[in-house]
Amino acid sequence: MDYVIQTEQLTKRFGTFTAVNAISFAVTRGEVFGFLGANGAGKTTALKMLTGLLTPSSGRATVAGFDVWRQPEAVKRRIGYMSQRFSLYEDLTVRENIRLYGGIYGLKRAAIRVKTADLLERLDIGAYADQLVAGLPLGWRQKLAFSVALLHEPRIVFLDEPTSGVDPLTRRQFWDLIYEAAHAGVTLMITTHYMDEAEYCDRVSIMVDGKIEALDTPRNMKAAFGAEDMDEVFRLLARATATND
């Protein structure tokens, strides 16, 4: 199998608190991998370790074939990241944001121009190209942020709760963008706490208190728990771990 993300016993401790507890999993190329869990379950912490923003306490992880701890810069060239907090510059225009990130990733001037035109057309926001990002509706901003994360054609994109606070219609459109990228061979790793979104993923892992409690395709998971939907799976799982403790 062609694994693009692999972790072994990846752990992050903050003092005595273990945010991520020895998680191991592997993601294949072109997969849409969902990272589910309640708030504070350790999803964001895991993602930050994989993107090189946090140093793991122990364990190993490779992303795009490079060790996140020893070759962070090589990893960073090959990944895109869209954080929980809106991460584009609000006091720059749409076009200026695209140019900035294109420049940072070393794209040539001509390439930036082509990509900008293409992106504006694909998102259908040509009319807003020279407006400050601060003035865009949240849904549009999120779509823009995702497209900017794809600008340098990364092999893997990490999305940290990309759709929180966005209306259902825009969420649906956002997922269209995600599928589009996946079809083009990009691997996507998404954290979310919307259980309906879990159904859209090829595989999901459910984190509870820093540990991965279940990892499978949504279909298998529902079958294993005898559940109607992912929401029910999640509730059953949460109850099971609570009684175990």
Binding site: K76, R77, I79, Y81, R85, L88, Y89, E96, G103, I104
Partner: protein, 363 residues
């Protein structure tokens, strides 16, 4: 290097788009130079004078009139007794007392000399010292001091580099140094912490951008801004105060170029340890207040206790103020400021090295 240019472009876009930033950068140096130079000087005028004239002769009245006409004193009250005058001094109604003894005129005519007494409120020693100095000059112009005895020594003096003892000439170059140091240090610290607060720095940190590229991208814009502020400040100093510019202005700009990284680097260093803009402001203020009070702008740095002078070697603002005065007022060339120049160069390198070392792309 191309990456750095994209970052610099972004910073300039943000600076010029911020409605608060540009006025601050342009208006602040002008207003502060003008305001502080006029207000913060050591010349004292309109001192309130209480007079106790026991003589009431034409000559004593003329002496009192001289005080009033000097511009330094205002005769606030003529008291009948020294007790009354003391009470006025005690309740801050007057700043000093001129007491003219009885027979003042008679003694002067008979013996060629006479004495008066001056009592000053010395809670502010600088003010009292100056007041007594002015009073002495006025009295001596009326009553010549005893002629020096034969064979005695006579002291003559001249004030070089600032012949008319103009305090504005002395203050303006120093104030300019302080303002530039202060603004660029604050701007750098706040700018970086703001990105941390808003969260945009996280996006930058997942890119393959190098530390030095990020730092240079942050420092270059404010570096240029320091030069622009220096230009404005010098123009104001020359247009409004006619401060002498004896030295080579190219040297002033070269020095600013070398000095600015000290304050930029400090701002950067502070931002690495501050989690919020509030923390950054308080930390920056802590250092800047010490730097400004000890930089020699208000009190001579050379007359501080030895330990303080040692400590002051870490004060970048001191070097800047020293340099400005040396070059603008004394016309010093590179040879005279060499040591200062290389100290500041080293300082900047060390501070920025520390800032780079403590900057973490990940935590």
């Amino acid at each position: 290097m191309r990456t750095v240019l994209y970052l610099v472009q972004k910073e300039f876009l943000q600076v010029f788009r911020n409605r608060f930033m540009l006025p601050m950068l342009l208006v602040m140096p002008v207003v502060q130079t003008v305001l502080l130079s006029f207000a913060a000087n050591y010349e004292i005028q309109n001192l309130s004078l209480g007079v106790v004239d026991h003589d009431l002769s034409p000559m004593s009245r003329q002496l009192v009139a001289r005080f009033g006409a000097s511009g330094y004193f205002r005769v606030k009250k003529s008291a009948f007794s020294i007790q009354e005058a003391d009470a006025d001094l005690a309740r801050d109604y007057t700043d000093l007392i001129l007491e003219i003894p009885p027979h003042f005129e008679r003694d002067f005519i008979r013996e060629g000399t006479a004495g008066v007494s001056i009592t000053a409120n010395a809670i502010n020693p600088v003010k009292a010292g100056l007041a007594i100095g002015y009073a002495q000059a006025i009295v001596q112009s009326e009553i010549p001091p005893r002629p020096p005895q034969k064979g005695g020594l006579e002291l003559t003096y001249s004030n070089w580099y600032n012949p008319r003892l103009d305090y504005k000439t002395f203050m303006v170059p120093g104030i300019l140094g302080v303002i530039i140091s202060m603004i660029i240090c604050f701007l750098t610290a706040l700018n970086i912490v703001r990105e941390r607060e808003v969260g945009t720095i996280e996006q930058i940190n997942v890119t393959p951008i190098r530390k030095w590229q990020f730092i240079l991208g942050k420092l270059l814009p404010f570096w240029l801004i320091a030069l622009v502020m220096m230009t404005i400040g010098l123009a104001v100093g020359w247009l409004i105060f006619r401060i002498p510019m004896l030295g080579d202005l190219r040297l002033v700009f070269l020095y600013t170029l070398v000095f600015a990284p000290c304050m930029l680097g400090l701002g950067f260093l502070i931002s690495n340890f501050a989690e919020s803009q509030q923390q950054a402001i308080f930390t920056a203020w802590f250092f800047l207040v010490i730097f400004i009070l000890m930089c020699g702008l208000f009190t001579p740095a050379d007359s501080m206790p030895r330990w303080a002078q040692w400590l002051n070697m870490l004060n970048p603002v001191k070097y800047f103020v020293e340099f400005m005065r040396l070059v603008l007022l004394k016309g010093a060339g590179f040879a005279e400021i060499r040591q200062n120049f290389f100290t500041v160069l080293t300082y900047g390198a060390v501070v920025n090295g520390l800032a780079m070392w403590t900057y973490r792309k990940r935590v």
